[in-house]
Subunit: 101 residues, 2 copies
């Protein structure tokens, strides 16, 4: 369940979201996002939990790999025409992990 | 519920944890960690969710503020002699947020 990341530095994409009441199709799309990540070059792992808000952190070799995943996810989401319906609010933060323990 | 963070760069501390079966006293300590954060200089916000694993991301003006909080939390936890009992496993990652949207 924990991402097995190498020694820093590597890239983290912190995705914080709040779902709307209309989440039809969301579960399938969320699974698709994870599948797309796992197939992507530079993928290191993903960690996810949801209560009032959802937090998904995906880890990447570098920012360009993270960016490529984002483009694929955007493309997949647009195909499903879902993202704007499912999320009441969301925030994406791209970060460089410098230390871990 | 979302952290209201300023324009990057700022620091994120990503704390991923898996609780043990013995979590007596944990809730109080978790609330104490948040309270300590909010009182700390350089605190920007905190986001948290738990399902199978827990993810708490706290945001800080810079790494030295994050470090000071860690020291205070460690001190508080040691006083409670709890951390090693509560967590089956945990991982802390210090990261510099370079972009957000």
């Amino acid at each position: 369940m924990f991402a097995q990341t190498p020694n820093p530095p590597y890239t983290a994409v912190i995705f914080t979201s709040c779902l709307s009441d209309d989440i039809e199709g969301y579960d399938i799309a969320a699974a698709e996002m994870v599948r797309l990540a796992q197939e992507q070059e530079g993928y290191l792992g993903i960690e996810s939990a949801r209560e009032k808000i959802g937090i998904t952190v995906s880890y990447w070799c570098d920012e360009s790999c993270a960016k490529e995943w984002k483009q694929n996810v955007d493309h997949a989401l647009v195909q499903r025409i879902g993202a704007e319906r499912w999320y009441r609010q969301y925030r994406v933060r791209i970060a460089i992990v410098t230390r871990d323990y």
